[in-house]
Symmetry: C2
Subunit: 387 residues, 2 copies
């Protein structure tokens, strides 16, 4: 089978990986109980705390983002606990499933897919809970399936006011893409995955745990072993891991976190913001409809709705002609939307390429004029880096 | 931190990785929902079946061997189920912990660490179970912590005679090192990990599931999500994964399985057998004591007991002087034994190097004469490849 080395990954994960990081990945492994590896755990953990803007423990798990979210839930809660789950997309839906699987009592706060969760809905439910029966609020910050970002800052302030409930947040496509100041917002449990803003291949996931989360973990009675975060904390105290970690992905992580520190959080966030604006403005100029509410666009992924064409055919055309991989819609959105990932190791050229590919395809299908394509690229260009 | 590129990994995992496999690992990732990746899943799954000598499903999980064992247990059993756990080392002990964590009723069959489990003990307990209350027998084939191989062939025949109980076997350091004919022995659930005989870095694990295991999974009521093997089976039917897999490790897996097929199972097993004999005979010639019963030596790892010296100091000396990493003893064996891994991508030169390093160190400590060292190398050489 042909691995296409020149493929441009414009999906919301796996995201493109810098050469330097690939080189680190391809090194000979070392012993995971060696001093050299302990040094790596120490430094990557410190840099993960920098990325999360937190003094909380940040644990590294070998597994996907789903494993990290599940670990956060089952390491802190008890059978029968009442929790709120925010659900406005596939990932929100997934956390409802996890919560129910483990026997939690779920209050769902919904919004239509493509719309953001309403923070006031959380406020209302939390304020009514005078007996403090709600033990956690579980939600997705950037909903990868729809390209919507939820107002985590406001929702987390309501969770803090409640004082008892833990916040358990899927930040899989927000960490490393936009501001998620874990300590400032008082987020208890934050889960993320390596193949996103981290710019490394999939296989590692991360969980940030507050003191309050650790306190809750003391009484947690849900059965768990591999995903029991208490084991990870115990090992981390000696810069180690409870089970053999994906050593080579940790080499890659070390390299990518150094690159991120060199660029700096503020520049990383601004780059994602510029790219988001470039793509969304270009799309509307091309007469395409954004699937997500325009005021709540994710910094990492833009979902575009096609009304006349099949979105799967559309993205296949772009894959074949331009070697750019776009993501499709998930579940009932399959064939109706396509998603442009602009997360992680993406530069301005990637953005103009993908806009051009989309625009050219529309021109060829007689959907727009070439003038429109020119206008769209010009609109996008305003948001690209000033020289 | 200095990654030592010339380090020789002679620990029972991570094991050395061939250049070709490292190159595959360091490729640019591709989309995990793409046709290219589906092709990879299809071919690696077929080759995993070849390696397991089975027509059963073999599933790939992103996680450690522990995750794979846990997945096998929690995907098929029910709360309160009676199970037998074989325990003659750290890993056997771990499966007892997992079983108890999930509320299983555990009958433990023990042997002293360093001794093999007695198959007749299993026969006795299984034959007494007329009401077929025992739902599974959980044990470790090659006990990595002590260098003992258990007689899985005989034990599995007793499990088959029982007819009801599933066999759930940790083959983490036996698959790819010695004969484990899954279909011939009728093994229901077999777990293994990538950083062992597979010759790839840690991060993937594998579970082979028999029809009987899938039948049991239909009624299993233990809570699980990320490690629910039913989700992996469902995705595998379209050559996919339920959650984002470690794409680059799958590139590596594809390459390493091709190398294994080129070498052939028989040659791989013979190579491990020769290396085991070379190391164990050399060790006894050097007046060292094998920790494991000589008739039940693991094909992958040899544990050597030091009576006068501290084993941790001994292996540190070898690390510093020869850049060979040996494993220490675990738990109460720390400082008492060291372990030589001879698993995966190991050639004859690695074997003579490690014997020489051990022998020279003993000579320098006035423990043996140089003649002894010569004798040991000569004894080892008899087991190396005839030219």
């Amino acid at each position: 089978m042909a691995i296409q080395q020149k493929l441009s990954l414009m999906i919301p994960g796996p995201t493109p990986v810098p050469e330097k990081v690939l080189e680190a990945l391809g090194r000979h492994p070392i012993g995971h109980r060696s001093k050299d590896f302990q040094d790596l755990v120490e430094i990557t953990t410190k840099n993960l705390q920098w990325l999360h803007q937190t003094e909380n423990d940040v644990l590294t798990i070998t597994g996907s983002g789903t494993a990290a979210m599940e670990a956060g839930i089952i390491s802190t809660l008890n059978r029968g606990d009442k929790v709120i789950c925010g659900e406005n997309g596939k990932f929100g839906q997934r956390w409802v499933k996890v919560a129910k699987e483990f026997g939690l009592e779920v209050i769902t706060i919904n919004a239509e897919w493509g719309k953001p969760l309403n923070p006031e809905d959380f406020k209302t439910v939390l304020e009514k809970d005078i007996n403090k029966e709600i033990k956690a609020v579980i939600l997705t910050h950037s909903e990868t399936s729809t390209g919507v970002i939820n107002d985590l800052k406001t929702i987390s302030s309501y969770i803090r006011n409640h004082n008892k409930a833990l916040s358990i947040i899927d930040c899989v496509t927000s960490i490393g893409a936009c501001n998620v100041p874990v300590d400032e917002w008082g987020l208890d449990i934050v889960a993320s995955g390596s193949q996103k803003g981290y710019m490394i291949p999939p296989g590692l996931s991360f969980v940030s745990m507050s003191k309050k989360a650790w306190q809750a973990s003391e009484n947690s009675n849900l059965p768990k072993f591999y995903l029991n975060l208490k084991s990870y904390r115990k090992s981390l105290s000696s810069n180690s891991n409870p089970y053999t970690p994906a050593v080579n992905l940790v080499f890659a992580l070390d390299e990518s976190l150094k690159m991120m520190k060199e660029e700096g959080l503020d520049k990383i966030f601004k780059r994602h913001e510029r790219h988001k604006l470039a793509i969304s403005e270009a799309a509307t100029t091309l007469n395409l409809k954004l699937f997500a509410d325009e005021k709540h666009l994710s910094p990492s992924v833009t979902a575009i709705q096609l009304e006349k064409m099949d979105a799967e055919n559309f993205r296949k055309t772009i894959k074949i002609k331009y070697d750019i991989l776009l993501a499709g819609g998930q579940d009932h959105l399959k064939g109706k939307i396509f998603r442009v990932g602009h997360l992680g190791y993406i530069n301005d050229r990637d953005i103009i390429s993908v806009i051009t590919a989309i625009g050219n395809t529309l021109v060829e299908q007689n959907e727009i004029s070439t003038e429109k394509l020119g206008e769209a690229l010009s609109a996008a260009s305003c948001h690209l880096k000033a020289i």
